[in-house]
C-alpha cells in the first residue's frame, strides 16, 4: 500500500471531508480572485455599456430564483397555518419548527420516477407543467416589489398580467387532455371553464382602478396611492376590491373554488397522472399563483410598497459609504465580527444553558444567534436608510397578510359546485363589476372639473 492509501484509510470521515474540502476551497478562492482581478474591470465596463440587457437578465434570473423559495415558504405556511386552525401542530420534526419540510418535499418530488403513462401524448404531457409554471413566473415581471425594484415597467402592465393568467388555462387544458384519463379530462375542462368565467369580473373590476390611476402600469398605480393609508384604492373602490378578491381566488384555483383539483371527487383533477417533478411544477405553479394574486391585491388596492403613514424619520446614512473601506477592510471586519461574535454568543449559551450544551453545539448556536442579530441590525439600517428596503418590507407584509387570508379560507370553507361556481361568476360578479365600472366612470365625470379627460 502506498503512503496515500494508508493515510486515506486511516482518516476518519470528518477528516476526509476536510481533506477534500479545504484544497478545493483554496483552489476555488484563488481562481475567483484571479478572475476578478484580471477580468473584472473589462467585464464591468461591458455591463455598464449594456445596462438594459443586464437589467433584463438580472430580472429574469431573480424572478426564476425567487419562485421556488417563495413556493417553499408558502407550502410551509399553509401546512402550519391550516394545522393550527385544525387544533393540531403541523410539521415540527424536520428542521426547527418543521421549517425544512418544504425542502424535503422538494427533494422527494425530485427523486420520484419520471414516466408518462401509456396512451398519453408525451410531448403535450411534458410541456403542460412547463407552460403553467412559466405563465405564473412571467406574471412576476410586472409586480413592483419596491420603488425601483420591478422587472419591467410596462405601461400595459396590468393587461400583461391578465394575459399571463389566461395562459395558465392553456397549461391546465394541455395537462387534462394529454393524460389518458377521464378524471384529468374533467378537471382540465372544469378549470378552463372556471378561469375563463372569472377572468371577466376580474378584469372589469380593475378598470375602475385604472380610471382612477390614469394608467395600466403597475408602478403608476402604486404611486397614485402614495401618501397615507386613506389614499389606498380599497377605500375608493370597495366593491371592486371585493370582486377582485373573489375572482382572484377563483383564478388561483383556491378553495372554495378549487374544483379543478377537488381531491375528493376527481382525485387530483388535471394532475392525476402526474408524479415526480412534473407534479412538482404544478404544485409550485399553484403556490406561486397564490403569491402573485396576493401581491396583486396588495398592489392594486392596498398601496403596494407604500407605508400606511408617513414614516417619521428617514435617516440618510450618507456619512457611511460602504466602498470606502475597501475589500481588505471588509474581509477583516467580517472575519472579526464572525469570530468574536460567535465566541461571545457561545459563551453566553454555555453559561445560560448549563452543562448540557457541548462545545460544538454552543458554537453553532452562537453562530446562529450572531446571524440573527446581524441580520436584524442590517435590516433595520437598510429599512431606515434605503427606501427600497422599506418598500420591500411593506410589500411583503401586505402580500403575506393576503396569503394567510387565502390559507385561512382554504382551512375553513368547503368547495363550491361547478355549476354554482359558474352561476356565481356570470350572474353575480359580472353585473356587480359592470355596476362598479359605471358608477366609477360617472363619478369621475361628475367630479372632474371641466368634464372627462
Amino acid at each position: 500500500m502506498s503512503f496515500a492509501t494508508r493515510t486515506w484509510g486511516g482518516m476518519s470521515s470528518r477528516a476526509r471531508l476536510l481533506a477534500i474540502f479545504i484544497p478545493v476551497a483554496i483552489a476555488a478562492a484563488v481562481v475567483t480572485v484571479g478572475a476578478l482581478v484580471l477580468l473584472g474591470p473589462p467585464f464591468l465596463d461591458f455591463l455598464g455599456a449594456n445596462m438594459p440587457l443586464v437589467r433584463f437578465v438580472v430580472a429574469a434570473v431573480a424572478i426564476l430564483l425567487l419562485t421556488v423559495p417563495t413556493a417553499f415558504v408558502l407550502i410551509y405556511l399553509e401546512l402550519k397555518v391550516i394545522a393550527r386552525m385544525n387544533l393540531r401542530v403541523g410539521p415540527n420534526r424536520i428542521g426547527p419548527w418543521g421549517a425544512a419540510m418544504s425542502v424535503i418535499h422538494g427533494l422527494k418530488v425530485l427523486s420520484k420516477e419520471d414516466f408518462a403513462p401509456t396512451g398519453t401524448d408525451v410531448t403535450v404531457f411534458t410541456l403542460a407543467p412547463v407552460v403553467t409554471y412559466m405563465a405564473s413566473v412571467m406574471s412576476l415581471l410586472v409586480i413592483p416589489f419596491a420603488p425601483g425594484l420591478f422587472g419591467q415597467d410596462f405601461n400595459i402592465g396590468l393587461l400583461f398580467f391578465f394575459s399571463m393568467g389566461g395562459l395558465t388555462v392553456v397549461g391546465l387544458l394541455m395537462a387534462g387532455w394529454s393524460s389518458f384519463n377521464k378524471y384529468s379530462l374533467l378537471g382540465g375542462l372544469r378549470s378552463a371553464a372556471q378561469i375563463i368565467s372569472y377572468e371577466i369580473p376580474l378584469t372589469l373590476s380593475v378598470v375602475g382602478v385604472i380610471i382612477l390611476a390614469g394608467s395600466m402600469s403597475m408602478n403608476r398605480i402604486v404611486l397614485a396611492q402614495s401618501g397615507s393609508a386613506l389614499d389606498w384604492f380599497v377605500f375608493k373602490q370597495p366593491l371592486a376590491a371585493l370582486i377582485f378578491f373573489i375572482a382572484a381566488t377563483a383564478e388561483a384555483n383556491r378553495t372554495p373554488f378549487d374544483m379543478t383539483e377537488a381531491d375528493s371527487e376527481i382525485v387530483a383533477g388535471f394532475a392525476t397522472e402526474y408524479s415526480g417533478m412534473r407534479f412538482g411544477f404544478f404544485f409550485f405553479a399553484e403556490y406561486v399563483n397564490v403569491f402573485i394574486v396576493s401581491a396583486l391585491i396588495a398592489t392594486i388596492f392596498f398601496g403596494g410598497w407604500t407605508a400606511p403613514f408617513n414614516w417619521p424619520w428617514a435617516y440618510n446614512l450618507n456619512w457611511f459609504h460602504p466602498l470606502s473601506i475597501g475589500i481588505l477592510g471588509w474581509v477583516l471586519i467580517v472575519a472579526n465580527v464572525v469570530l468574536i461574535g460567535t465566541v461571545l454568543f457561545a459563551i453566553a449559551a454555555r453559561l445560560l444553558g448549563g452543562r448540557e450544551w457541548g462545545l460544538w453545539d454552543a458554537i453553532g448556536l452562537g453562530f446562529l444567534f450572531l446571524l440573527v442579530v446581524v441580520a436584524g441590525l442590517v435590516g433595520t439600517a437598510g429599512f431606515i436608510a434605503f427606501d427600497w428596503v422599506a418598500g420591500l418590507v411593506w410589500f411583503m407584509a401586505k402580500t403575506y397578510f393576503f396569503v394567510i387570508t387565502f390559507v385561512w379560507m382554504r382551512a375553513t370553507l368547503p368547495r363550491v359546485r361547478v355549476d354554482q361556481l359558474m352561476g356565481f361568476a356570470w350572474k353575480w360578479l359580472l353585473p356587480a363589476s359592470l355596476l362598479n365600472l359605471f358608477v366609477t366612470a360617472a363619478a369621475v365625470i361628475v367630479t372632474t372639473p371641466g368634464g372627462a379627460r
Binding site: I82, M85, L87, E265, V267, R410, A411, L413, P414, R415
Partner: protein, 443 residues
C-alpha cells in the same frame, strides 16, 4: 396433496407465424414509436403459448359453459347513449367511505345512471361465525361497522340472550345504553367530519376526530380497547364502570354540548355547504319505505321510525328522549338529523348517569354455552339504522346460522335512485350523507 398431473399441451409449431409475431412484438426499428397501442400488445392468435377455448374444451376437459348472459339491467347500463361516458369512481378513491366502486354513466357532468359494485371488503364474517363459539362471535362481529363496534355486538348479544333465556342485570343494561350512546355521538361527529371532507372542507373532520379521540379514550378505560371493543357479553358486559372512565366522562360532558354546537356551527350556517346539500339527493317518503331504509335517512324523509321506540329493547322505555324527524329528505335534512341526534344522545347519557342502578354487571352463565335449538332475532338502533341479527341455533356450541342485517347495505341501495339527474360533484354529497360504512355493507 400433489397437484394433478396435466397432460402436455398440444404444441403446434408454426415457424412462419412465430416469426411474424416475434417481429410484431419487438419494435421493428429505432424509429418506431415508444407508446404501444393496446392492439399491438395482444399476442396473435397463432402464438403457441395461447390455448384457445375450443382446444381446451375439445381435447382436455368438458366444454366450458358460456359466459353467463347479461342481465337486463347490465345490458341497459352498459350501452352508451349519445355523448355519454363511463366514469369509474373506483374502489381506490379518497372519498368513497371505504372500498366502494361506483360506475357512473355521465353525460358531460350530469349523471345518467349509476351501478354500484360491492364486495371489495367481504370477509366472510357470517361463515366465520358459524364456526366459532358463541363467545367468539362477539369478537368476530366487531369489525363490521368499525366506527361503532358496540352497536354490532349488541344485536348479536340480544339474539343469543333470547335463545338462552338469559336475564340481563339492570346495571348492565344501563352501562350498555351509556356506552352505546357515547359511541353514537362519536360516530355522528365523524359523520359530520367526513361529509365536510368530501365536500372540500378540511377542518371539521379534525374537530370530529378530537371529539372521537376523547370518547374512545373513555371507552378504552372502560372496555380495554379503543376501537374494536369486544365488551358486551351474553348476559351483561365485561367489566364494571371504573373511576378512570367516570372521571374522563365527567370531564368530557362538561364541555360536550358547547363543543358539538361549535363544531356543528362551522357547517350548519355556511352558505357554501348549505347550497351544496339542499335539494340534493331527495329521498321521498314512499321511496324510502319501499327500499327499506332505516335510521337517520328514514327520519329525514318524514317517517318517525326509531327501533328504540318502535321495538323497544334494553332500558330505553324508561328513558326520555325525542325522535327528531324532518320532512325534506334531502342531504341537508339527513345531516341536520344527525346533529339533532347528538343532542338527544347527550340527554340520554345524562339520564343514564343519574339513574344508574347498583348490582352485578353480568348474569351467571355456564362456561360452555349450548342454547336450545331455535331461532331468535335481535335488532338495535345503530347510528346508521336498524342493525339486526337473525341467529339460528341447532343445540351445539356454535351457531348454525348467523345472519346479519346491516343498515348501510340497505341505505346504499338508494344511491341508484338518488344520483341520476345530479352532477358528478353531488355524488360525494349524497353518498356521504347516507353514511355508509363499507365494513358493514360487505360483511
Amino acid at each position: 396433496m400433489p397437484a394433478p398431473q396435466r397432460p402436455p399441451r398440444p404444441h403446434k409449431a408454426r415457424p412462419a407465424a412465430s416469426a411474424a409475431s416475434a417481429s410484431a412484438a419487438a419494435p421493428a426499428s429505432k424509429g418506431a414509436k415508444r407508446t404501444r397501442r393496446p392492439a399491438e400488445r395482444q399476442p396473435s392468435l397463432d402464438d403457441p403459448r395461447i390455448m384457445l377455448d375450443r382446444q381446451i374444451s375439445s381435447d382436455l376437459y368438458e366444454p366450458i359453459p358460456p359466459y353467463p348472459t347479461r342481465t337486463e339491467r347490465e345490458a341497459e347500463f352498459y350501452t352508451l347513449g349519445d355523448g355519454e361516458m363511463f366514469l369509474n369512481v373506483g374502489p381506490h378513491h379518497p372519498a368513497t367511505h371505504g372500498v366502494l366502486r361506483l360506475v357512473l354513466k355521465l353525460s358531460g357532468e350530469q349523471i345518467v345512471d349509476v351501478d354500484p359494485v360491492l364486495g371489495y371488503l367481504h370477509r366472510g364474517v357470517e361463515k366465520i361465525c358459524e364456526n366459532s363459539d358463541y363467545y367468539h362471535v362477539i369478537d368476530q362481529v366487531d369489525p363490521l361497522e368499525y366506527l361503532s363496534s358496540l352497536f354490532q355486538e349488541w344485536p348479536a348479544v340480544l339474539s343469543f340472550e333470547k335463545l338462552m333465556d338469559v336475564q340481563v342485570p339492570r346495571r348492565a343494561e344501563y352501562i350498555r345504553v351509556l356506552s352505546g350512546e357515547l359511541l353514537r355521538i362519536s360516530s355522528h361527529t365523524l359523520y359530520m367530519g367526513f361529509l365536510a371532507l368530501d365536500l372540500g372542507g378540511l377542518t371539521p373532520i379534525l374537530y370530529g376526530f378530537i371529539e372521537r379521540d376523547e370518547i374512545v379514550e373513555m371507552l378504552a378505560a372502560l372496555t380495554g380497547a379503543r376501537m374494536l371493543f369486544n365488551y358486551f357479553r351474553i348476559g351483561g358486559v365485561n367489566g364494571d364502570l371504573n373511576h378512570e372512565f367516570m372521571s374522563r366522562l365527567g370531564d368530557w360532558m362538561s364541555r360536550a354540548a358547547r363543543q358539538t354546537e361549535a363544531n356543528a356551527g362551522l357547517l350548519n350556517e355556511n352558505e357554501i355547504f348549505v347550497r351544496r346539500m339542499r335539494g340534493v339527493g331527495t329521498l321521498d317518503r314512499a321511496a324510502a319505505l319501499s327500499y327499506g331504509v332505516t335510521g337517520g335517512n328514514l327520519r329525514a324523509s318524514g317517517v318517525p321510525f326509531d327501533v328504540r321506540r318502535a321495538h323497544p329493547y334494553s332500558v330505553y322505555p324508561e328513558l326520555e328522549f325525542n325522535v327528531p324527524t324532518r320532512q325534506e329528505g334531502d342531504s341537508l335534512a339527513r345531516y341536520l338529523i344527525r346533529v339533532d341526534e347528538i343532542r338527544e344522545s347527550l340527554k340520554i347519557i345524562d339520564q343514564c348517569l343519574h339513574n344508574m342502578p347498583d348490582g352485578p354487571v353480568m348474569a351467571k352463565l355456564p362456561r360452555l354455552l349450548r342454547p336450545r335449538p331455535g331461532r331468535a332475532w335481535g335488532a338495535v338502533e345503530g347510528p346508521r339504522g336498524m342493525l339486526g341479527v337473525y341467529a339460528i341455533s341447532d343445540g351445539s356450541d356454535q351457531p348454525f346460522r348467523f345472519r346479519i342485517h346491516d343498515p348501510s347495505f340497505v341505505n346504499l341501495e338508494t344511491v341508484t335512485a338518488l344520483l341520476p339527474g345530479h352532477l358528478l360533484a353531488d355524488t360525494m354529497a349524497v353518498v356521504a350523507s347516507l353514511d355508509p360504512v363499507m365494513g358493514g355493507i360487505d360483511k
